[in-house]
Amino acid sequence: MLLPQSVEELVAIVHDHDQIQIVGARSKPAMTPPSGDAVRCGTTRLCGIISHEPSEFLITAWAGTTIAELRDTLASHGQYLPFDPPLAEPGATIGGTVAAGLSGAGRLRFGGLRDFIVGVRIVDGLGNHVTGGGNVVKNAAGYDLPKLMVGSGGYLGAITDVTLKVFPQPRSRITFHWKCKSFAAAIALQTSLSQSPIDIAALDVEPNGSVWIRIEGESTATDGVRDRLIRLQRQIDAPGDVTIVADASDVWKPLDDGSFSPPPNRLVRAVITPSKMCEIDRSLGELCVDRRYSVAGNVVWIDWPGERPIKMLDECLLHHGAPATVLTGTVPRYRLGVRGDRQMIANVKTALDPNHRFVGQP
């Protein structure tokens, strides 16, 4: 694997090779399967914070910078990444996180990665170092190349650095567990909560009827929410117990660090809508896989057994009209289910990488 330490070295690699596979820290190894003749080009040596302006709510970092380092730097100034990027513990980098398009459970409140990326630089397929977006939180000039790179999987170009909008870190966090009697009741509760003005940071649901509600903000606010949830419990038809979780890391960590799906199983993230939850759960239940619904029913994380052919999951997702990406393990095709518009993808590929240098799956 080639490990450039500068943009110039990365540009030279692009010029010198017909086929290149961009690799991060491999916290999502399924997204960089064996690449045949393509040379592997790692970004982990292109790392470090380039600039952090706390008063501007902005941070710029090289692609190989770990999420952990970003978090620590921001935390020391009372700031955080509101889109809650997962897999920091296995070493996820910001470049890989952007390429995978991954946000965590906390993206519910203020938006996902795509809502916080304001600038990006890439080396395109012609070997040019290209800038998109800017160094300010609000910018309407030119095309939104930063958003296009979110979820691009190394297929459109090699990300060299990223500028993100950040927010002040909430002073207090509290997680509630609402144990509903059934999955259907949990979905009904999820709907009620999503239509209430409570500022909810994360809202996850499990097939056994557990609903996990994370509230963040000033500590007096979080106390007030507990009272409101209890009042809500009396009003709506979702009886169950509401308790405060003493150690919330038990709740959020398994998805945050990937231990929800330990090897040899494969961690899969599927994108759904709340109205599909019931039918999809029936299918996943028949397949006997662990799953967890996140972002108020917009995402389902699936723990796919290692020995089972991934094709079965692919067919299930196609049937439900959902897209998904396999993140861990090794599979020939890591993009499952219904994919993005072929013509549009072909257009952007022609524009940014006309000679098809960058291997990846869109």
Partner: protein, 478 residues
């Protein structure tokens, strides 16, 4: 001269070519710029839109789609002798889905109407461009419309989940979907804000949120704009995330007072309006913190809106500024630059210096939370040289924004007005990538030709006297 007959046969009376009927389509929010199209075609379906675009492709005729024509960057000014595709009749709200919290609309739906429809089902459409009573969702998507709440809530692009689009090539593509999340490259994100240069959306899926249940609004007066800017930095630095933060300068305050009777503290160079929003719990917890910060900020006066009427009056004053300036000046240029928030005070001092040196009056309002400036550069078009002087001032301010590391546009887009400045923000390899992206969608450069990209002629519209197209009599200013 291409044969319009094919279009005429399909569209009948929905195609207009007479001078009288097309005159309403010749300009947009930038009233100084105008061009005469060959025909205006009123679309009522995606098939109509595709038909026109494909006809244009075969006959190599440039075109622009148009909603309500409220662009403040000349984005929907027709291309001279091109086609205008009027989208206003495609104005159905196709679906309101409270389970998935989305709405699916046709592009001609007026923003305020969508907001009302969302409110009717207990939800809310968050983006609030100040032209929302008139502007359409399609136009908002094309230009990634902003508003006063962008720091916390984002812009239109942060609320658009998917769309059907007819590209300049005539191909129909489906971008995004109905989920808050996406898998694969964010194609919808690329299209939003592409200023009509890639294609036109024929159906748009937006996300709906829950309206904040309560607000807390404070207006403080400062003896200098710098002090108002410092107060913004202090509030941000304390970890608060207000829904809106706006600054008005003395000229803007005077105009608002004269227009709508809004009252402002005397002897203040600037007022800062800060509004918290959200749940009772969140706002209740942040109120005392905000009040305390204001008390320590050196404000000359602090007015807390204790009831809905006072809050409404504060916002009425702020929102009246553009039309208020229109009362005190026959014409004005609205600018839209962005500077890093910490440089707001410096930027305004420089703008004041530019105003004094040139003798051109400028009123200033800022979206202080995100550094987005709106200098309102006043002139009287009846006076020889006045527009030219105003445009020179505008160019200086744009250059100031670039020098300070900001952007030439925060929310109005590049359009026609600022196209010659885009390559001062992006270097040649980046501009080349933008061009290649455009060509991949619109190989003949017919989709809103002449917008966003510099012409290479080096002369922005009218900045140095008459534009060559004006000299040729093809376009005119009103």
């Amino acid at each position: 001269m291409s044969d319009l007959q094919t279009l005429g046969n399909r569209f009948g009376t929905r195609m207009m070519t007479s001078a009288a009927s097309i005159s309403a389509f010749q300009s947009d929010g930038v009233t100084a710029l105008s061009a005469r199209p060959r025909a205006v075609v009123v679309a009522t379906s995606e098939a109509d839109v595709a038909f026109v675009i494909r006809w244009c492709f075969e006959n190599e005729v440039p075109w622009v789609a148009r909603g309500s024509g409220t662009s403040l960057s000349g984005g929907s000014v027709p291309i001279a002798d091109g086609i205008v595709i009027a989208m206003n009749r495609m104005n159905a709200i196709l679906r309101m889905d409270t389970t998935n919290r989305i709405a699916v609309v046709q592009p001609g739906v007026i923003t305020a109407r969508l907001v009302r429809a969302a409110n009717d089902v207990g939800l809310h459409y968050a983006p609030d461009p100040s032209s929302q009573q008139v502007c359409t969702i399609g136009g908002n998507v094309a230009f990634n419309a902003g508003g006063a709440h962008c720091l916390k809530y984002g812009m239109t692009s942060n609320h658009v989940l998917g769309a059907r689009v007819v590209l300049g090539s005539g191909e129909i593509v489906e971008l995004g979907g109905e989920s808050l999340e996406n898998d694969g490259p964010d194609l919808m994100g690329l299209f939003c804000g592409s200023e009509g240069t890639m294609g036109v959306a024929t159906e748009i899926t937006v996300r709906l949120v829950v309206a904040p249940e309560t607000y807390f609004c404070v207006m403080a007066g400062y003896d200098t704009v710098e002090r108002a800017g410092e107060a913004v930095a202090t509030i941000i630095g304390a970890g608060l995330l207000p829904g809106a933060m706006e600054i008005m300068d003395a000229v803007a305050m005077k105009a608002a007072h004269e227009a709508v009777g809004a009252n402002y503290p005397s002897d203040c160079e600037a007022v800062l309006i800060v509004e918290l929003d959200g749940s009772h719990e969140s706002v209740g917890a942040q109120k005392p913190i905000l009040e305390s910060l204001f008390r320590q900020s050196g404000a000359v006066s602090i007015e807390v809106a204790r009831d809905a009427e006072t809050r409404q009056a504060i916002w009425t004053g702020r929102k009246s500024v553009f039309s208020a300036v229109g009362r005190i000046s026959p014409d004005f240029i609205v600018q839209d630059g962005v500077v890093p928030r910490g440089k707001l005070g410096f930027a305004l001092r420089r703008i004041n210096e530019i105003s004094k040196a040139s003798g051109v009056r400028i009123a200033n309002v800022f979206h202080a939370g995100d550094g987005n400036l709106h200098p309102l550069i006043m002139y009287d078009g009846r006076i020889d040289g006045a527009l030219h002087a105003a445009e020179l001032v505008a160019a200086e301010i744009i250059k100031l924004c670039i020098e300070l590391g900001g952007s030439i546009t925060g929310e109005h887009g590049v359009g026609l007005e600022k196209r010659e400045f885009l390559d001062q923000m992006y270097d040649p390899p980046s501009m080349d990538a933008l061009r290649r992206l455009r060509l991949s969608m619109d190989p003949k450069m017919l989709a809103n030709r002449g917008k966003m990209f510099p012409t290479g002629e080096g002369e922005p519209m009218g900045l140095y006297g008459l534009h060559p197209l004006e000299k040729a009599g093809v376009i005119t200013r009103v």
